[in-house]
């Protein structure tokens, strides 16, 4: 134990030296600063932890080596990539954080982020960004970068991707062509209804409307309020003078449910929508579904079409940026990092260095992709998404996606469109507010349970809202939703005061 403490203090001293060396050079030039600050030092190994789906790519090591080479040259650091499966993510990262295992950079997601901050597991990044993260600051609208602040300090930097969200109606392209549906004329849910009717009449075996994902309801993908975290207490129209209201008591909500229920009765919605276990792609592929309401972003159609069935979508709402649309995916530096400065310097590279971003996103040139032109790439001969040695394709995760190449056949202007999408988005009045559930966690658990019982069946149209919505509301009330809303209002008021 004593031995350990000695080492720890030695390390701390080392960090201090590095810190002062870096800051003495100022931020006039990041790269030279780190070069001169690190002469003769051992390169520091950064442990980068991030989630993946499916198997670990076989060439991960090769990509890691290439990134390390670049990082060694630029900031005298090497990287170690530690991918963890989404399924094991919460469990493993929790254990790593509570046991103080060394992690220098890790992905944070909005729903568990406040708890990690409350436990003191993350380092405040404000000074580090000032010192080493000027590149990060340049990338973001200040309002977006500060959206993750808790008590005035930033603990996470969002990845630069689609930071706003709008909701659209996505349809099978073959059917749209077959029935000559004029997609540009679809603007509202009533227009959608007309399309559903056409499909129902002409394709009796196909469900015109399916859920946008397994376990999602229809109303989940048509949202006109800021959910302020989890929809128990919302801000209608993303403003409402910062007055939190109960979503389930809003007349608009009842109206939407009535519409969905009438669709269900008319046979427009997949019969077992509430219990369906097949993904939207499988439903489309097997000709069981026609379209779905979805959360969208520029490039959505191409992304969805990759799964086998070509899809076209038409927006029904305008893009809006909320706290959760921004904090969904962030990067943070855990307290267990031995060298937060190096970690921030590397994070800065992930937002400014095109080579590093593309190594993360697409792998190694010549091996995993070939260049068609400057910013457009394709798979080399004989390689495709399933047999490529590096097939993460998670550009939305690794720093600045806007520096990423685009694939041949996709829209090469996607990033300027995305930028436009983000900057034109309406900013919710509560952008930057993060609700701390802790004071009402008993009520929260009870309300969640009630909501699970009713919500899916109501929002997919299976239950009649006239009969069951009042029951749902009264059960929510006895579970304590009003207390959650009051607490949320209180926190929101305090937040508004300190942010004005």
């Amino acid at each position: 134990m004593v031995q350990k403490m000695k080492w720890l203090s030695a390390l701390m001293a080392l960090c201090m030296i590095v810190l002062s060396a870096c800051s003495s050079n100022g931020d006039s030039n990041r790269e030279t600063a780190s070069h001169s600050g690190s002469e003769g030092e051992e390169p520091y190994e950064l442990n980068i932890v991030f989630p993946i789906f499916g198997g670990v790519p076989t060439d991960l090591q090769a990509v890691q080596d290439q990134i390390s080479n670049l990082a060694l040259e630029k900031i005298n650091a090497t990287v170690k990539l530690t991918p963890i499966n989404f399924g094991a993510w919460d469990q493993q990262t929790n254990l790593m954080l509570t046991s103080g295992e060394k992690i220098d950079l890790m992905m944070l997601s909005g729903n568990t982020y406040p708890l990690k901050v409350a436990k003191g597991q993350l380092t405040a990044l404000d000074n580090l960004i000032e010192e080493h993260g000027q590149g990060i600051k340049k990338v973001f609208d200040p309002a977006y970068l500060s959206a993750s602040q808790i008590d005035g300090s930033t603990y996470g930097v969002p990845s630069n991707r689609d930071l706003a969200t709008n909701y659209s109606f996505a349809m099978r392209k073959d059917m749209v062509d077959k029935y000559k549906i004029d997609v540009t004329s679809i603007k509202t849910l009533d227009d959608v209804e007309a399309v559903l009717k056409t499909i129902k009449e002409n394709e009796p075996t196909m469900a015109p409307l399916i859920p946008s994902a397994v376990g999602a309801s229809i109303a989940d993908s048509y949202i006109t309020y800021d959910s302020l975290g989890e929809s128990f207490g919302v801000l209608p129209n993303f403003d409402n003078g910062l007055k939190v209201v109960n979503l389930y008591e809003m007349p608009e909500y009842a109206e939407l449910l009535n519409k969905i229920h009438s669709w269900y009765k008319a046979g427009y919605i997949l019969k077992d929508a509430a219990t369906n276990k097949d993904s939207q792609f499988d439903l489309l592929k097997s000709n069981r579904g026609f379209g779905y309401l979805a959360k969208t972003k520029p490039g959505f159609d191409e992304q969805e079409s990759k799964n086998g069935v070509a899809v076209v979508s038409v927006p029904l709402t305008l893009p809006v940026a909320t706290t959760s649309s921004i904090t969904g995916i962030m990067w943070g530096i855990p307290g267990s990092s031995n060298n937060a400065d190096k970690a921030m310097q590397f994070l800065n590279l992930m937002y400014t260095d095109k080579e590093i971003v593309n190594l993360f996103d697409w792998g190694i040139e010549g091996k995993h992709y070939e260049k068609v032109s400057d910013n457009v790439i394709k798979f080399p001969q004989g390689v495709d998404g399933t047999n490529s040695g590096y097939n993460l394709f998670m550009g939305w995760l690794f720093g600045n996606q806007f520096l990423s190449y685009t694939f041949e056949g996709e829209n090469p202007d996607i990033w300027s469109q995305m930028d436009e999408f983000n900057s034109s988005a309406l900013k919710s009045k509560a952008l930057g507010f993060i609700f701390d559930v802790d004071p009402v966690k008993t009520e929260f658990a009870a309300v969640t349970a009630v909501s699970q019982e009713f919500r899916l069946a109501l929002e997919t149209g299976m239950m009649d809202p006239n009969k069951h919505l009042p029951e749902f509301i009264s059960k929510l009330k006895s579970a304590g939703i009003d207390k959650i809303i009051a607490e949320k209002q209180k926190q929101l008021d305090e937040w508004a005061k300190s942010n004005k």
Partner: protein
């Protein structure tokens, strides 16, 4: 009398047939699903009589064999090594505890019994194994934590030794000049095959089916056992369907194996243990009854 007997018999048989059917039918459905073409699962759901049979799931496994084969190798290794070590440790601890002339047997028994009731909890356990024993991402992490020795097995074996090995046998070995080790290996062990087979089976199943250690201690897929791979696929799917993943993740959904492949992996994971079971069976029943009576 005879008629009544026959009725009891047939009622018993019917009950047993229903119970074994309840166990077998889901497994049969699993096997059939793994042999059904993906398209017919998607459009018709699971069925015992699929529209279209297909071996494509097993062909896929054959192609992706490197990962699966390696995982199989890992599973077989940890099962064999773990079971053997575990049996050695368990019997070597249980034997002295069973001897009435061993002075601290009660204290030892309490020590073992204590671990049945209390443990350190996940986080401290994780801390100890990863930071003091450096077991993270090593094969040891699959063998040692939680599985290597189980207090219940020790007590079961001790009871067997106490009740089924007559003291005079041990005494006569002693009189004939056998030392403690000779007595143990040449007299006690051969007489204890039922309990050794029983606990061996417990341990084999525990090691074969274990995914928790892999989930907690491994991030390196090179060390994944077959159950870890299966578990990883299932939790990924659960995550995708939990609604936490949004449209961003959908691009990744295509990388997950199809339904029939999942079924095929489950079949491949379960079959070896099914084959091993009958070999243990004749000892199994004997071992567990003798060990359990007169606690």
């Amino acid at each position: 009398m005879n008629a009544e007997n026959r009725m009891i018999q047939s009622v018993g048989h019917i009950t047993m047939i229903i119970i074994s059917g309840a166990c077998l039918i889901p497994f049969l459905l699993l096997v059939v699903s793994s042999l059904t073409s993906e398209q017919s699962i998607l459009s018709n759901g699971y069925s015992f009589f699929p529209q279209e049979w297909s071996f494509s799931a097993y062909e896929y496994l054959g192609k992706a064999s490197e990962e699966i084969l390696r995982a199989y190798g890992i599973t077989i290794f940890i099962t064999l090594a773990g079971t053997a070590t575990s049996l050695a440790i368990t019997s070597l601890l249980a034997y002295p505890m069973s001897r009435r002339d061993f002075p601290i047997k009660n204290q030892l028994a309490f020590f073992v019994f204590f671990t049945l009731l209390f443990n350190g909890g996940l986080v401290p356990t994780y801390l100890i194994y990863t930071q003091y024993f450096d077991m993270k991402n090593t094969i040891w992490a699959l063998i040692i934590p939680g599985l290597l020795m189980n207090g219940f097995n020790v007590l079961l074996m001790r009871t067997f030794f106490m009740t089924s090995i007559p003291l005079p046998v041990i005494e006569s070995a002693n009189i004939d000049g056998a030392g403690e080790f000779r007595t143990f290996f040449s007299i006690v062990i051969p007489l204890s095959m039922p309990i050794i087979a029983t606990i061996g089976l417990f341990q084999t199943i525990a090691y074969w089916n274990d995914w928790f250690n892999g989930l907690v201690y491994l991030t390196d897929p090179q060390l994944f056992s077959i159950q870890n791979i299966l578990n990883r696929i299932l939790t990924d799917i659960q995550f995708l369907s939990s609604g936490m993943a949004d449209s961003r993740a959908s691009g990744s959904a295509q990388q997950l194996p199809s339904t029939s492949v999942r079924m095929a992996i489950a079949v491949v994971g379960a079959i070896p243990i099914l084959i091993a079971y009958p070999f243990f069976q004749k000892y199994f029943i004997k071992g567990i009854t003798i060990g359990a009576v007169k606690g």
